[in-house]
């Protein structure tokens, strides 16, 4: 009886999916035509997704324009690639990852770190996009905690990190390498976590932040300037960030490699790093491990 009902539900679900597919095909034809005509003219339109809520790495500003370190570098890349025309599409961090994998977007930037898992789903080009300083935000009194190991030894609690954020992976990898001295890692939704506030109120003992964002928060015109003396930022790593390409976009990734090399040689990335992060991270490139 129960089996029968389940089968029944399954059949309906299948029928439902078929109908959906049917509906979809009706609306698609015009779009496909557009895409084809784009190809024939020689300039290829590509969609560049960016995390629209990740200031100062990438964000959609008050006037509705995409900007941020990652976006500005991609704009420079676009200038050097006459065969491509970039269209910037802002989205959430979740959607960016799934969208690139599915081919909704050809490439995406979100201050993304390199991780083993990601190489299976995306193409990492040979040349990285930028550098990002990751560190622990702590109360002044815990200043001596310099890295994840100290943090774990102290038994501190860490602000939740969104499960698809590479910061999560970094801590997770640390935990796997140090099974007897683990950081208490919790998955959450990045949207809700105001790391500075959480640490300062004592909701958690520490949180992981990107230096650029932290510095802007406590800067003289930042929203948390009043807390500038209560909190510290202890960098534990400078990490390379990468654009993520869809698996079918090897050619595009190669083209990107050539362009970004030139841009880096011209030191333009150094300028942007200073502009958005307040510091030229390329100076410490020699010490970067990841």
């Amino acid at each position: 009886m129960k089996n029968k009902k389940f089968l029944h539900v399954l059949t309906i679900a299948l029928a439902f999916v078929t109908i959906l597919a049917g509906c979809g095909s009706g609306t698609s034809t015009s779009n496909e035509a557009d895409a084809n005509s784009g190809n024939t003219s020689g300039v290829r339109k590509v969609k560049v997704a960016y995390d629209q809520a990740s200031k100062p790495m990438s964000w959609l500003d008050e006037k509705g324009r995409p900007t941020g370190y990652d976006v500005e570098v991609m704009k420079l890349v676009d200038e050097l690639l006459p065969a491509y025309e970039f269209e910037y599409i802002g989205t959430s961090s979740d959607d960016l990852l799934v969208g690139i994998e599915q081919g909704k977007y050809q490439v995406g930037v979100k201050n993304a770190f390199w991780t083993e898992e990601r190489t299976e789903k995306f193409i990492f080009p040979k040349e990285f996009l930028g550098l990002s300083s990751a560190g622990l935000v702590l109360k002044k009194e815990n200043e001596k905690i310099k890295n994840l190991k100290d943090f774990a030894s102290a038994g501190f609690s860490l602000a939740p990190i969104a499960a698809n954020n590479a910061q999560y992976t970094i801590v997770d990898e640390y935990n796997q390498a140090n099974p007897d001295n683990k950081v208490k890692l919790k998955a959450g939704d990045a949207f809700t976590v105001d790391v500075i506030q959480w640490v300062n109120e004592g909701r958690v003992d520490g949180g992981i932040a990107i230096e650029g964002a932290f510095m802007k928060q406590v800067a003289s015109d930042g929203p948390y300037h009043n807390l500038v003396d209560d909190l510290v930022y202890n960098e534990f790593a400078v990490i390379k960030t990468w654009p993520l390409f869809n698996k079918k976009e090897q050619k595009f990734a190669d083209a990107y490699d050539e362009a970004i090399k030139k841009i880096k040689d011209e030191k333009k990335t150094n300028e942007l790093s200073k502009k958005f992060y307040g510091r030229d991270l390329f100076e410490v490139l020699g010490t970067v491990e990841r």
Partner: protein, 235 residues
């Protein structure tokens, strides 16, 4: 508390948020439109004689009622293009808003099919027979006698479902749609993830006001139409 809380952020964010109400309302409006049409068809299937149609309609309603909006949203947004992709159709250039509308139309249809079904059933079968016996055709009987009455019965539930839809629509931010909720996320990001509480409060105030306005509107409508109902019953 004062250290983090600043009323000024609420006041500043409201005017920034309000323009994006347009997107929220458009998504809601279109979903209500398509959802009602689909819901009506489903309600007819439920009341009709075909067993298969009936089972399909009820099955559809159960499945949709059991799926959290956020899950349905992801499944339509990534599932439809993926399925279409298997047939060689490229849906990747379609705007996000379209998928949001599809999601909430599907969901609204499930709710509406029940609202419409129960309102049609609430009208006494005798009325239909009486109408036919005084010489009206079946369609006439439905159009002039049954539907107007069923409409009045359905109105409050329709209003509730609409409010529900509008609120659930806020979850479209998870796929990056910039409606009022998405804009709030951008404002928070613009403040480097700080002062989120104030922005949420501003959002809550806007949603609350909107809901009250819609509720009042439906009460008015109900009153206006029940007047018509009395005329029909006395006539």
């Amino acid at each position: 508390m004062e250290k983090y809380f600043d009323l000024a952020y609420i006041a500043e964010s409201v005017p920034l948020l309000v323009p994006f109400l347009k997107v929220t309302l458009m998504v809601t409006g279109l979903s209500v439109l398509f959802g009602s049409i689909l819901g009506f068809i489903l309600a007819i299937m439920k009341l009709g004689n075909s067993k298969i149609a009936k089972k399909f309609a009820y099955g559809y309603t159960t499945i949709l009622r059991c799926t959290p909006s956020i899950v349905l949203l992801f499944l339509t947004y990534y599932g439809i293009p993926a399925i279409a992709g298997n047939f060689g159709i490229n849906l990747n250039d379609i705007d996000k808003a379209v998928f949001v509308v599809i999601t909430f139309s599907l969901q609204f249809a499930a709710a509406m099919s029940e609202v419409i079904r129960s309102s049609l059933e609430s009208i006494d079968r005798g009325q239909f027979e009486a109408a036919v016996s005084v010489g009206l055709s079946h369609t006439q009987a439905y159009r002039r006698i049954i539907l107007p009455q069923a409409f009045v019965v359905a109105l409050p539930n329709f209003g509730n479902s609409l409010l529900e839809l509008m609120k659930e629509g806020s979850l479209a931010y998870t796929i990056g749609l910039i409606d009022i909720m998405g804009k709030a996320e951008l404002i928070i990001a613009g403040n480097y993830n700080t002062h989120a509480l104030e922005i949420y409060l501003a959002l809550a105030v806007i949603y609350w006001t909107l809901s009250i306005v819609i509720e009042k509107l439906f009460l008015k409508l109900e009153k206006a139409f029940s007047k018509g109902k009395q005329v029909i019953t006395t006539a």
